[in-house]
Symmetry: C2
DNA sequence: CTGTTAGCGCGTTCAG
DNA sequence: CTGAACGCGCTAACAG
């Protein structure tokens, strides 16, 4: 049914080897005569080489697998853009897999990509502080690296591999200091899923900034979302009910901060006059909400590009870790507290 | 280096055939005795079957390829979410390819996916009104479908295949009528790339609504962007300079409408008091900008899901086309013109 | 320069 | 229930 190299060879009246040579542009030359005949046969038959057969014989797959938490999340969208840019630049194809933040699915995808014999796997999801998960993950990853596969993690995981590490701690500390500098003392936090390393790092950084200024952060002023916009809105509602005296809100990512902005608007609480709001990541939408969101800029596209680069440039088993700095950007959602 | 089925068989002291049976869960049973030995060998060796070899002997690849214009565009992000959901539901893996809106790259990806012998290809980019492009595209697609590949287009293309067609004409007409009903007579349009069928359809629909009400749309009131936010901002600037009397702006997608909103804010033009703004698509961000954007809702996730479904459910060469309706949603960026 | 031969790793007959 | 043998489509030796 589907034409094979043998069909092409037969039609061109040459051997399969010769056909292969002209098609894959092998080292050695072929007479213009035969080359013509082969090319014609190829186009007559609409022949397209079977990549599986080629892969089986040993050619590198030139494919890298990418596992992301959720591609429609703007954070991942930016990161994958960086990855794709780098992939194109190096002539690679990417297989993007969406785990929908389900650890089991993530593991299944690693196996799948391993089975496909991809050159490298980039794990763009968040790391999780869970022993059994981490062990399972490690064992899947090990099986892959044991046969020469390369792996790069974006954000902190408890598994060995190359890594691109955004400075979550430093960024959160810096935004915390900024809030304190403005005069805020009662600050609410919309945190993320408890087990994610990203949540932990950002909380740690933020706490350290408050501690420096002797500002306390009672448990009642912390609520949790799942990094989605809607969870941020919902969490903001709970926070406002529970701690009406706060003058500022730190959401652990921009999506949740934007959700918070929407409930603040619904409740008639002016931002930044009556409430300051800050996020983290600096997704494109942060500029377009009203008021424009003050946040911590994380070069997401660059993180993606560097992850790809780390994976592809790996020599032997020498792993590398790259730290990427973050930077506070104050826009219009922050101001000194009203009653100051 | 990487363990093969033969290695597993050897370690388990069984034949490769037996090992294969227990691993791929073949029809026939194997004694518990041997099954144990094989399973142990598999885990000792960290054996993972080679998908290429499997594909070569005939197993369906269970992989579908997806070509999108730009994954970090919210429109495509939503569509791909629908695709991925459907893929998971049917046990498929997806290979997502980002053409970055480059026709040549798009063609190259079709070939690549064909070479990978994917079950189906979903073209989620926009159709283009260009003869030579369409012919090239058709020839690549034909080669793929000729050997049993399935193809689904999202949005109108000049190539045969299954298709999911959003009602761009009807949606644009409806939003045009809404603007006219509010009393607008001087309307500016931020159009898209001229060759895209989506641009054409939305323009046609919008024009028909204006024609019904004898409202004219002089060429001077039309500017073009490329569907990105920034191009929308830039186009809005030109539009305002050129046609200062307009009371409303229709941007052909939400991204550009949001860009327009930002320049309006910068120029101190109040929305909707002094200027109404509408978009198209209803991306998530449309709710979060200020004022919330009036737009045409397009069920993007559903489009993606249906595209996958069409591709997978295809029987023989019976192609199907599904029309998906759109719906106007008026939020806060629209009002009657000021001086009325 | 060209053709012949031998696998790559696997599933699947077909015998035993 | 188990094993031996074959072939999927292709490229890399090796001869001619």
């Amino acid at each position: 049914m589907t034409p094979t190299l043998a069909d092409v060879a037969r039609l061109a009246r040459v051997s399969p080897a010769t056909a292969s040579r002209v098609i894959s542009g092998s080292t050695y030359g072929v007479s213009a005569q035969l080359r013509e005949r082969v090319l014609k046969a190829v186009s007559d038959l609409k022949y397209v080489p079977n990549a599986h057969a080629q892969a089986l014989v040993g050619a590198s797959s030139l494919t890298v697998g990418v596992i992301v938490g959720d591609m429609s999340d703007p954070y991942f969208a930016e990161v994958t853009r960086g990855i794709q840019n780098a992939a194109i630049a190096s002539g690679r194809l990417t297989m993007m897999c969406n785990s929908f933040r389900d650890p089991e699915r993530e593991l299944a995808y690693i196996r799948l990509l391993h089975a496909q014999r991809v050159e490298a796997i980039i794990m763009a999801g968040g790391g999780v502080d869970d022993r059994v998960y981490s062990q399972k993950l490690a064992s899947h990853i090990d099986a892959f690296t044991a046969v020469g596969g390369r792996v790069t993690f974006i954000s902190r995981h408890h598994v060995v591999g190359n890594a691109v590490l955004p400075d979550n701690v430093g960024g959160a500390r810096a935004i915390g200091r900024a809030l304190v500098a403005l005069g805020h003392r009662q600050i609410g936090v919309i945190s993320g899923p408890k087990l994610l390393t990203t949540t932990r790092d950002r909380m740690d950084g933020f706490r350290s900034a408050l501690a420096e200024a002797d500002v306390t952060l009672p448990p009642g002023q912390i609520v949790h979302g799942d990094f989605s916009r809607d969870s941020g809105a919902e969490a903001a509602g709970r926070l406002l009910d529970r701690a009406p005296d706060i003058t500022a809100i730190f959401a652990l990512n921009d999506g949740m901060a934007i959700g918070a902005l929407s409930v603040l608007r619904n409740r008639g609480i002016a931002v930044p006059a009556a409430m300051s709001v800050v996020g983290f990541d600096d997704i494109p939408a942060a500029r377009d909400v009203m008021p424009a969101l003050s946040t911590v800029h994380l070069p997401m596209v660059e993180c993606g590009a560097r992850a790809m680069e780390l994976a592809l440039s790996q020599r032997g088993s020498e792993l590398r870790v790259e730290h990427v700095p973050t930077q506070v950007v104050l826009r219009n959602s922050t101001a000194p507290p009203r009653n100051r």
